[in-house]
Subunit: 325 residues, 5 copies
């Protein structure tokens, strides 16, 4: 699969033309233009070309090529390098696939480099092109649109994890599936930890974009970043709450196991006591003494049976009443 | 159900007249007037009208329409947008219903938009109108009155959760209802977590209102916000204490289950030992050897019975003394 | 019980005269005088009188009347409003009673309002009057004396809780009273939580009094507040340590229960194995086969008994050695 | 083994000559030269020589000689003293060996002193010499190269610990090796704690190097330190995540043990109940009463056997259905 | 025992003469002299004398007399009052004894007041007198020497606790001494908590001494305080690591108990099942039915024995294979 390259020049919020990477400097000679490039797992050569056109830093390009970075915001001179983690439900294996989007943002360009499970930004592009009055704000607004798109992808994931948690609660309080429950709690914990790790640095990235006096983000674009920030915080909070509930669910699980074991133990003890009576009585009358007058009685046998049953019944009702059976 | 609209102009702390939303800009031409609008789950069209009259920001209006925001305070130019969570006991299902109140506050207007389980602010309005000298302080005071009203609704809820906790403690230390106890602990934890999540951002919102030099909140209104802040902190603390007590109660629950199981185990072992004696003795004298002199003895049978009972009695008293029975 | 009112004017560190509340403004016309008023659960009317004399804020007076405030320090103009929690051992019910003391401090007055389990400040007053050179420092020093008095009341309480903890440790490691232990751990945790909640805001109140440039607390009075601060921190630390030890004690309790259960289980298993041998042997020789030669042997019966006992003895010693019995 | 000494002068990014320690001051008379010395567990005498040449502080030299320092950054006048912990997998004993590298950095020298499991910096030296344009930036760049080298050694270690964790998860959810699992969890926790302790101060060291306006680290070298910082943070995060997962794995382990015990208990109880039936019936018909009509019936024996088996079968299927067997 | 008083005047780093406390002001008339006094549990009178000579604050003297202070640093005008906790292993009762050293430091004096298990500072004094070039730096250096001496006493204690922890680990993973293990874990936790409480405020005290521009600590003495600070941090870290390991050890202990119980339970169940077979068979053939043809067979008895043994053997091997025995 050849790498996806999508390189377009915009002016006044409208698409001007597709621009081959080599012609970028040419195109940028015209004032009021900016370039938005979208790349998917590009080769090293391609990245080097982009680097030369915009004068990006070696270390940032290396990061963008190797991926496996943690979410972060770095400033190199007057340009920004932003790493974001993306996530998508993988319905086939009922798990979450993670990817990365790396963004280079300068006064006149936005370059996005996607790795792994990272949705195409074609959708963002067409949404932006549909609102030229906003797109005309320049690269700052494109940055917002991309971040908003990435953050909003976490909502369905967190909802799906919430559904898992609810199903788990049901299983715990039903008392069904004890063994699988432990495994599923662990799996859910792991998923939540990974989502948390992907989302929580986003809050800090948004916060920095909003606060520091960057030439790149004009005053009237800030409320939009505050909106992304808000969404990031909400996802974070939802994950935190689910983590806390999961911990409580685990505790409930453990205490219900203890309660069940307690009940099983009591029931075991109760039945053992009831059954011990006839065994003992039968043992006594199975003895071979020569002088056991009861053995000779006409109604010895039925009498003993009846008395034994009566004792068993008495025990049964007593245990029943005290909750042991 | 048509949306509730309650739009009134005030001057000098007194109600001047009801104002249809279209006439607002007309009315505000008169100096010293301010408008207080109360809306309940308004349609998009209505919100757009309000937006136009006061020049509110798109993103804030969107939030107010979609609801499901986290509690927050945002500044747009010289106006405030505040989201608060409200809560009410639902006695029918013995649970808590949550709602949201969104407030837009400017120098000459207050707009409250209520969603879900959110009490009508008619009560606040009439209370404010009863103290014109306070209401004459303007929108800042109305903001206080609304926040105070919302925060104070949490007290009965926290008290109800406290009662639940007390009942739970009783059940734990009585040793009754082991199985339900685990479920109820979980439920209470969940409720406390939700209340905590609704209340704790309130502290920060109040704090910001109190501290930052807002033209909207005159010096002499500040102590009132400190009062609201104080209530928010108290509710927070009460919830924290209940959460900590609940954790301790859970630990007590688990350790009592362990103690009970220990006791059941010992009792089981004790009775098993006592009952093993006659079973064994009877087994021995049930053997069919030709030469078992005891079987021929005149008082062999009663003698064996008496000795066996004596041993059982001895064991019983020993176990009793050492606390196994 | 009529409310206690104790209103005295001081000049140069010496008691000048009792002052009815109505005459306060009269008395304060003389320079260098200050008034110290002590009230116990005053009615609303009385508080309103005091409010008028010193120009106190409505919200503070409301708080002082309703009580149930959290410990805090508030500034209203150039006067302070301080809420402190007090505590006393209730020997009758072996618990802790909590109360509140509210203090209004201005340049020329100190008003203390006590609620609930709050010791009379008569003792503080007489101690202050005994050191006129210190009392002459004015309301700042009186504030210190009252706070010192309140904070020092926590030491015996923390000591008593420490004794409880020690007794509990004894019970846990003795292995006695398993069931009550869980209840007592919970009770102690609750007490420590309440004391913590009462004391920990004191640290912050002292810190503020010490640091901020208040006209009320002259330079040379500051070391005294640092002393109170130090005591508050010490009490806090003691409570924290007790809480941590209590957690460890609970863990020790739980692990000892597990160990005991383990031992009981092993003992049960050991005895079950030993007793199973004669039962099985007796069962075998109780079978009614026609051709069982052993049954005919002269020493079959004693032989079987001896062999059986030997096996039991062997098992007993083996289990004993491996620690199962 | 004589201590390794590697002392080289550089100018303009290129190796000039090896320099005996005594001649250092001579060599440094030429401008634009700097010295890079690598020592491995040097004797006190050698360190004193180095100290004299560069005028290092007594306390730093003492630290560098005794080793066993915690990772730290100290400034002495215009020179830096940095202690870093190094780590290497010891495949023989399947554990981690830790070492220390101490760095003295001045305007014209870098001295590295290695102790214990600390890889030779020959590799760093040759890598630096391969990029003269970077090496010409001076001691600041050498410092980066050494730190980068040390930090990157942690990645394979963290990966190995991650593999251990995965193997452990497998063992836990397979249910195999219960006893060893507890030991391995403990061992892994210990390893993670030690790695954490070695790595986490690195973040702070990098942060200080990056932020404070040190003459030693020119503006264009900073992004390199940010890169090291980034790696240190990533290792830290990976360790934190593994610690959290390990905690969850431990919880899963404990709850699976409980579940297993529960199941074993139920199975025990179930079989005990099933086997109690024939024992009891056999006991009854082993009684020696004269009048037991069933004993005389032609099909009494097979009938009793069949009925008993039927009851056992019924119990078996019921227990099976309710999950006890 | 009369209190130890050791009062000496120094000039230029050399001991000038012993000075009775009354003559101090006389001696200090000579410039460049400073006094170093060492007291051990002094009476109130003696302290008052010292107070008068140096003009110390009432509250500090009270603290120094009553002891039982928490570690702290307080400034009174241009003098310092420092409280440090000291610790020593008590080999007799295998525990730790704690003491206190209070230090008053001014421009021309150092007074140390020792309480409880606090080593004589004779050793520090002779060490200082051996390096006159350092001692000539004045009271600041003496303060360093005393603090260094006190902090270094914690290393052997932390090492001893580390040895205890290792022994404990051994006992836990050997499976020996279950009951004592719980008690020793608790004891070790308590010791670590006490050491932590004594050491952790030291870090803050050193930090303050190092940072704030105190006339008492000249620039060139600062690295020495950084050295003490470093030691304090290392002890702190070692205690923290031991606490964390102890927590993990406790968890390992609990999970090993659970594993053992699980195994005991399975073994119990296994043997119960094996032994139930012959008991049941013997019961069957012990029945007294008239028509039991097997009883008449020639090889009925040995046949039944063999079949029974075969079944037992089969069960034994199956349980063995599945790990129940």
């Amino acid at each position: 699969m050849s790498p996806v390259v999508n390189s377009v020049a915009y002016a006044g919020g409208r698409r001007v033309s597709d621009v081959p990477i080599k012609d970028i400097s040419e195109v940028l000679k015209e004032p009021d233009r900016f370039i938005w490039i979208g790349l998917h797992e590009p080769g090293e050569e391609l990245l080097r070309e982009v680097q030369q056109e915009f004068g990006l830093h070696d270390l940032a390009i290396e990061d963008a090529h190797r991926a496996h970075q943690r979410p972060k915001l770095e400033r190199y001179g007057d340009s920004l390098f932003i790493v974001l983690h993306t996530a998508q439900m993988n319905r086939a294996r009922r798990g979450i696939d993670f990817g990365e989007t790396h963004l280079f943002v300068g006064a006149r360009y936005v370059v996005s480099v996607r790795h792994g499970a990272s949705l195409s930004d074609a959708e963002v592009r067409s949404r932006c092109e549909a609102t030229p009055e906003l797109l005309s704000k320049g690269p700052g607004f494109v940055l917002y649109a991309l971040m908003d798109f990435i953050v909003d992808q976490y909502f369905p994931i967190v909802d799906a994890l919430g559904d898992d948690l609810e199903a788990l609660e049901g299983a715990i309080f039903d008392g069904s599936l004890r063994r699988e429950t432990a495994t599923r709690i662990y799996q859910l914990k792991r998923d939540l930890l990974e989502v948390k790790r992907a989302v929580s640095p986003l809050v800090d990235v948004c916060n920095q974009l909003m606060r520091f006096d960057l030439a790149l983000i004009p005053e009237d674009t800030r409320p939009y970043f505050r909106d992304v920030y808000d969404h990031a915080i909400r996802i974070n909070e939802m994950v935190d709450i689910q983590r806390e509930l999961l911990t409580s669910a685990l505790e409930a699980h453990l205490s219900l196991i203890s309660v069940e074991q307690n009940e099983a133990m009591k029931r075991l003890a109760g039945w053992a006591a009831i059954l011990a009576v006839p065994t003992m009585v039968a043992g006594v009358y199975g003895m071979n003494f020569d002088f056991m007058p009861e053995l000779r009685w006409r109604f010895g046998y039925p009498g003993v049976l009846i008395v034994t049953l009566a004792i068993c019944g008495f025990l049964y009702f007593r245990f029943k009443r005290s909750g042991w059976l």
